[in-house]
Amino acid sequence: MGDSDSSAIVEAFLKEFRGITEELSEDDFPAPVFNA
């Protein structure tokens, strides 16, 4: 798979992913992984 294929796949996936991130607020900070 060439670089252009990888770019297209990642761009499509990132578009989907960034749609999800819209629900984040300033109060949501990264977890230090888990608080299990």
Binding site: F13, E16, I20, A31
Partner: protein, 436 residues
């Protein structure tokens, strides 16, 4: 024979550890041309460890349930003096100067190592169709994949070559081969089993766990590697969440039938089935994929000047990971916390959640798509969409085989963080007739 039964035979002197090891090694060598489950077979070490186990038992030193029991390690567990290839050409001749924690603990428990099992290259994929060591084949149909990435471990257990095998699970890599091969596979709570000396893939997603013939065997291995206690739990009265969303969508007929039958069995035993809408499963899967793309590329980018030494699929994923920005990765970790808190509320309503492990039975080697009605889905997604969320959430999840007339099907049970003992106890109570 399971671990408990083999141990009883050993202690009654009806069989020796050396005889168990010889039987296991003979099976492994005989099966290797058909299934290709192993990368390294440690004949001499196995017999040496077995002789020691026999000597100790004769002297009255009993190291517990795994004493004298043959097993295998996925070839990402460091073993001093024995190659640890990670299924890669890059590490084809890599020999570590240290042991992994899991290997140290299993050796201290008296278990006898038969060898290192094959896997998807760098554990980064679910087919175990390895370009450097050859395709690993499903024991129920050699034209089909065993699942992965711990494919060799799944085959070694399901084909009866060893009593248990260790695997790793970053996005389903223990549970998918357990489902496709027909054995038990446990992904414990994140951090419950030490990953020291295990070659990583996704730093915040990797889990270490066993593949076994029965649920009780998984509990015995967990005692040795994580210090868990064996527990029992009545199935009657347990509240089982049955997702109405996501996990009930796009199933093969055999998987759907097995899942319904498993729920009916749990209900017959007195479990309460509670329909639930689980929070954000598809988004959690997307978050997991993004985190893995980033972490795997951060780990392996130092070898990308040797592109020709990677398989095509792994190289493509590593290239894709380099294109993910730091802000996207951080947002994925932020979302992870949001989703964890939403799932924490779910455990007020239910004790465990039931899902199919995979949406399909084992695909053919080389198969790329699977059809659901008029729509096609990538085999990799159909294999991982039900398992990956539990890596992101860090929740314990076990795949237990359900007998069908055709290929094996796995039933996945997951629970709240840290409930590994309760999960095993429930799984044994609900499904021991199936898994024993």
């Amino acid at each position: 024979m399971n671990i408990g039964e083999a141990g009883a035979q050993l202690r009654a002197r009806r069989i020796s550890a050396v005889e168990l090891a010889r039987e296991s090694l003979a099976g492994i060598h005989a099966a290797q041309p058909r299934f290709n489950a192993f990368i390294t077979i440690t004949d001499e070490l196995a017999l040496e460890q077995a002789r020691r186990a026999d000597d100790e038992l004769a002297r009255g030193l009993d190291r517990g349930p795994l004493h004298g029991i043959p097993y295998a390690l996925k070839d990402v567990f460091a073993t001093r003096g024995i190659p640890t290839t990670c299924g890669s050409k890059i590490f084809a001749s890599r020999v570590t100067d240290h042991d992994s924690d899991a290997y140290e603990k299993l050796t201290a428990a008296g278990a006898v190592l038969m060898g290192k099992t094959g896997l998807h290259e760098f554990a980064y994929g679910i087919t175990s169709n390895n370009p450097h060591f050859g395709a690993i084949r499903n024991p129920h149909d050699p034209e089909r994949i065993p699942g992965g990435s711990s494919g060799g471990s799944g085959v070694a257990v399901a084909a009866g070559l060893v009593y248990f095998a260790m695997g790793t699970d970053t996005g389903g890599s223990i549970r998918v081969p357990a489902s496709y091969c027909g054995c038990v596979g446990l992904k414990p709570t994140y951090g419950r089993v030490s990953r020291a000396g295990v070659f990583p893939l996704g730093f915040t997603l990797d889990h270490v766990g066993p593949l076994t013939r029965t649920v009780r065997d998984a509990a015995l291995v967990m005692q040795a590697i994580a210090g868990t206690q064996y527990a029992t739990r009545p199935v009657a009265g347990c509240r089982i969440g049955v997702p109405r969303n996501f996990f009930a969508e796009r199933l093969s007929p055999a998987v759907e039938g097995a899942f319904r039958a498993a729920m009916a069995q749990a209900e017959c035993l007195g479990a309460h089935l509670v329909p639930v809408d689980v929070p954000d499963p598809a988004a959690i899967g997307a978050v997991g994929r993004l985190i893995l793309l980033s972490e795997a590329s951060a780990l392996l980018k130092r070898y990308l000047d040797r592109r020709e030494e990677f398989g095509r699929d792994v190289l493509a994923l590593l290239e894709q990971g380099l294109l993910v920005s730091a802000t996207d990765y951080i947002d994925a970790q932020r979302l992870r916390r949001v989703y964890q808190s939403r799932w924490a509320e779910l455990w007020n309503q239910i004790d465990f959640v039931f899902t199919p492990t995979t949406a399909i039975e084992a695909p053919l080697i080389g198969q790329e798509k699977v059809a659901f009605g008029s729509a096609d889905e990538d085999v990799r997604l159909a294999s991982t969409r039900f398992v990956r969320p539990f890596n992101v959430l860090g929740l314990p999840a076990i795949s237990i085989p359900w007998q069908t007339a055709g290929l094996p099907v796995g039933i996945q049970i997951a629970g709240m963080p840290g409930c590994d003992e309760e999960l095993l106890a429930f799984g044994e109570g609900a499904f021991s007739p199936q898994s024993d």
